[in-house]
């Protein structure tokens, strides 16, 4: 526990001592019981621990690295005799700062070749990390990373938008990072210390959505035994992010409009208006202007939410970001999965660059995560990419008749038309240029799955 008198400091020859004391890399040595026997000047400087405090103590309690407990490089070196070079990690100083370091290890032997301990050299990477962050900062906005000129233009205006109190509307295809952008705006705003509350309006039926948004009072309906605060109340002093705003029913649109106009609302079963100061950010992957024209979305609400509009480009229009995004995802999944994937092979990256990415950044992230499952270390190559990205995916699995091929194409076309029309079958039939009864027959014949709630209720 305390210093041990048995663990005597190493006395180096004068020349060696002078060299070790003059270098900027930290150096310490340990005996076979992991107690520190030498601690140079740079080690004192980097760790903030004096030599006299360090000598004789367990190295893990002096060095305090994230590697000590589960992944000690010196332990590995002493076990297999092989040095470790340039391993990255961090140490914690007594003010709780994480100091980034890189370290190398070696075995210490006496004149007879007997192992008497190990040596570890380490380098403070704080300045390098600061410079790296500054460089990366040009391509970062919060957690969003991009080199694309399209996104760079957004990066220029987002800080200004963030500090304004205006309602923001985010548009863009699914998977383009609308929620991430909303979080970034919140983080850059004066409300950053307040809550960020997100709600997907398309995920809940109308009645539930209403109580989720506005909350309810005890006795408002059967089962409401006590008051429940809604998302507006939870987002007080912060930001409320309403995703898929285009899916909200006309009745609820009226209530939302009132909140946006009057900055107050009434919880279900309540009789008194409750003020709200939550900043509203909405998002949709649908064309709200078109929905307004065909009467699905209220015009007054559209103008109320369309104060500041940010359109997030699809990944196919910012393909130059794919290498940067892949690098970011590899770093993320290495941390999450405790994996050691080094990078992606150039051929695999070329395939990623050639893909159309209908699912955008989310699809890319899923592809990288899938590769991690199959390849926890080394380099991601073509073998670990899904079939639809490789030539394997473009070939039919087996012999296919002409009729089967026609059914497949028909099913895909009908599915796409239904999705475009929000599962309104009459609208989908019009889009396909066929009668609605023909569409119904084909849906049954081809076994196309439909949601329980059809698109008619949105009208």
């Amino acid at each position: 526990m305390r210093k041990s008198s048995r663990h005597n400091p190493i006395t180096a020859p004068a020349t060696t001592e002078a060299i070790l004391e003059s270098i900027s890399d930290g150096v310490f040595t340990v005996d076979t019981e992991w107690r520190i026997t030498y601690f140079n000047r740079a080690a004192e400087d980097i760790t903030g621990i004096s030599r006299q405090d360090a000598l004789g103590r367990f190295c893990s309690e002096v060095f305090r690295s994230n590697m000590c407990e589960t992944d000690c490089a010196l332990r590995k070196t002493l076990k297999n005799g092989k040095p470790v070079i340039g391993r990255s990690g961090y140490i914690i100083d007594d003010e709780g700062n994480r100091i980034p370091i890189s370290l190398s290890t070696a075995v210490l032997k006496d004149a007879s070749g007997k192992v008497v301990g190990g040596a570890e050299t380490f380098r403070d990477l704080s300045e390098i990390e600061t410079l790296r962050h500054e460089l990366e900062g040009r391509f970062h906005m919060g957690d969003i990373v991009s080199r694309s000129p399209l996104m760079q233009r957004l990066f220029e205006v987002i800080p200004t938008i963030a500090v304004s109190p205006s309602t923001v509307m985010l548009t863009g295809e699914t998977g383009t990072g609308k929620e991430l952008m909303a979080r970034t705006i919140h983080t850059l705003s004066k409300r950053r210390n307040g809550p960020f509350v997100a709600l997907n309006c398309g995920a809940l039926p109308d009645t539930l959505l209403e109580s989720e948004l506005f909350g309810y009072k005890a006795g408002a309906f059967t089962g409401a035994t006590k008051d429940k605060p809604g998302r507006f109340a939870l987002a007080q002093g912060g930001t409320l992010f309403l995703d898929e705003i285009g899916e909200v029913s006309p009745a609820l649109q009226v209530r939302l409009l009132r909140v946006l106009q009057e900055h107050s609302y009434e919880p279900l079963g309540g009789t008194v208006s409750v003020p709200t100061d939550a900043r509203i950010i909405v998002a949709t992957n649908r064309d709200l202007a078109e929905l307004t024209r065909n009467g699905t979305f209220r015009e007054d609400l559209y103008y109320r939410v369309n104060v500041v509009r940010i359109e997030l480009p699809p990944l196919r229009r910012r393909k130059e970001d794919i290498p940067l995004l892949v690098e970011q995802f590899i770093g993320k999944f290495n941390r999450l999965h405790h994996a050691t994937v080094r990078g992606i092979a150039p051929e695999a990256l070329s395939l990623l660059m050639a893909h159309h990415w209908p699912g955008n950044v989310r699809e890319l992230e899923n592809v990288v995560e899938r590769a991690f499952v199959l390849c926890p270390d080394g380099t991601i190559d073509i073998r670990y990419l899904p079939d639809e990205l490789t030539l394997r995916g473009s070939r039919p699995a087996g012999p296919t008749s002409l009729q089967d091929a026609r059914f497949q194409v028909e099913a895909q076309a009908i599915q796409a038309a239904l999705e475009r029309a929000g599962y309104n079958r009459l609208e989908a039939a019009r889009g396909l240029g066929m009668h609605k009864t023909t569409l119904f027959r084909k849906i049954r014949q081809l076994g196309i799955p439909l949601p329980e709630k059809d698109g008619r209720s949105k009208k």
């Binding site: 526990m1 305390r2 405090d53 309690e61 305090r64 994230n66 407990e69 914690i92 700062n97």
Partner: protein, 137 residues
Amino acid sequence: MRTAFSLWNDRIAPVFDVARHLWIVDAAEGCIISQTGRRFSSDEPQERALRLTTLQVEQLVCGAISRSAHDALTERGIRVVSFIAGDLEHVIHACLSDQLSNGLLNMPGYHRGKRHRARHYPHKAAYTMTSEQTQES
């Protein structure tokens, strides 16, 4: 009082942020009522703080801890006694007898309230400590 001790090889784990094991002690009037071991499954500060909250831990005794991990715990009302080193048995005993603050079990170079920052001394000769020394047994 329920206290958690971050544990590694029968000693206080050197770095709480990555510690895998906890030893949880329930005590009243300086006596142990019950004790048990638990594991962490995440290195994420908020998840670790949530884990301790779920385990109804009121106080954590640990080794080095980063500021983000420390803040995540104190925000949840958990008292943190950090930069402690030593055999688990000794640390539990010191904790129950309210002697953790006397500095005997501090990590090397850590002087609670007195920052002995070797990096602040510009010349090698100045490394000799002039303020109160860590007591050694």
